[in-house]
């Protein structure tokens, strides 16, 4: 369901033509300052197509990539992309929903190089895999670290190890 306000926006209208069917939902929220926030929910299989189409439309910047863990709900993960166009002074948020057993998505590093570290961070802290990523390693946590700290089932205080048991 794409709301009519969102469909009327130029970037979404042309997107619906170039990558038909890739946008599953579209919403817009207003705030007091009058900066609307547009969110598009994208089919995980088509994320690179959508990203490429948006880049040719002027979204030359990928501000950030992050994820939200909705544990124990399913689909568990949302990968969130914030795009920005300096030229048109517009912002756009893309979201992709992934189940806990299919926490894997195509990397957008081929579209924006800045995705490299952002995706590494999501991989490190959420355990979401990005296929075709040039350098998918942990970035924040040490190399031998077990688990993914920003997952909701990872305790805030970490795992306590008892020396007496071992």
């Amino acid at each position: 369901m794409i709301s009519e306000v969102v469909l009327a926006r130029p970037e979404v209208a042309s997107l619906n033509e170039s990558v038909a069917g890739a946008i599953l939902e579209g919403t817009q929220t207003e705030d007091l300052a009058g900066h609307p926030e547009v969110t598009l929910i994208v089919d995980p299989a088509r994320i690179v197509d959508v990203a490429r189409a948006l880049k040719t439309q002027g979204f030359e910047r990928l501000c950030t990539v992050t994820a939200v863990d909705w544990h124990p709900q399913e689909p568990r993960f949302e990968v969130v992309y914030h795009l920005h166009s300096v030229k048109h002074n517009r912002r756009l948020r893309l979201k992709v929903r992934l189940g806990s057993d299919t926490a894997k998505i195509e990397s957008v590093t081929s579209v924006w190089r800045s995705a490299n570290w952002y995706e590494r961070e999501v991989f490190d802290l959420f355990g979401i895999e990005f296929s075709n990523h040039p350098d998918l390693r942990r970035i924040m946590m040490p190399e031998g670290w077990q688990g993914h700290p920003l997952r909701k089932d990872f305790p805030v205080h970490g795992f306590k190890y008892s020396y007496q048991d071992s």
Partner: protein, 396 residues
Amino acid sequence: MSTIEANSTTRRMTLNMGPQHPSTHGVLRIVLDLDGETIVTARPDIGYLHTGIEKEFEVKHYHQGTPLTDRVDYLSNLNNNLCFALAVEKLLQVEIPARAQWTRVMMCELQRISSHLVWLGTHALDIGAMSMYFYCMREREEVLKIFEMFSGQRMMTSYIRIGGLALDHPRGGLAAIKKFADSFPEKVDQYEELLNSNPIWINRTQGVGYLTLEDMLDMGVTGPMIRAAGQAWDIRKSEPYSSYEKFDFEVPVETASDVWSRYRVRARELRESTKIIQQAVAGMPEGEWKASAPKVVLPDREKMKTQMEALIYHFKIVTEGFTVPPGEAYATVESPRGELGYYIVSDGSAKPWRVHMRTPSFGNLQGLSQMIEGTLIADCIASMGSMDFVLGDVDR
């Protein structure tokens, strides 16, 4: 590269720079592959200062989150306070009174001056102009004294709160700021006098650390770096927040995209920030300094002594926090380093479900490899310093 091909007996050397190297200003480690004095590849290795702030937000009430934001980018904590507050206020739909908005602008610009001064002083120190450091720290001290007057803290101010400010202006606060702002342009003249015709400074900065605008946009570089490459993009102008649209200031732009032009952009920003502060002091509106949202904003101490209702609200906010309607918001401000953004997801409870920080230093640092590969190792320090990253901001 060419020397390797010409002489097969030379070997590349791998050099670990950092994490304790003084000019990385924190704990950044760069693995450099060197061919003689030329950097062949540079791989930044980060995470030494990762403190899990994003995770910690999830177990704290919204008001308890404000002190955490101070500790992300400890050289521009007020911008972090503001950005977090803006994102939560977006979800809450709270109207902020004019006095609070103007004070926020004034404090953020003071913070920009203080942050740029740290940059200018340490960067000059890194590349050999030692006396700059003392001059810059002298003026920064004045700014920190002003922060102490307003908030009781020099660095971790937590002065900008959700719904307004922590406190109203102290007695003599505006006068102190006016005194500082009136004397500051003269100090910038002094800095420029020391640096602009200094042959060592010129030789070490001009033509060093070049990066094209397209690469910067593609790699997530923002802020003064991108303005030094000819892109007049400043969030204070393009998406004005907290009544920045009411202030008259210019966005300094340079085109050379080297260390020198980044210095010029920041030096001119010092003057522009002073202009904004002077306008804020002159036109500071009277009236309320926090929003009339009793469920969100802590009540006045005086009211708590006489009104039962105020006491109850205080107790509720401190013990249970306040709930935020479910939804998501992305707020963004122009921090001294570039685009700072807070993405907050609320599930309707008193604690955020998810807080993500889009920090400028993390984005900027991605451009480092490309900037220094192929250049001399001596220029590495100058290029790196010109990015003005804060490792707390990179690792979070």
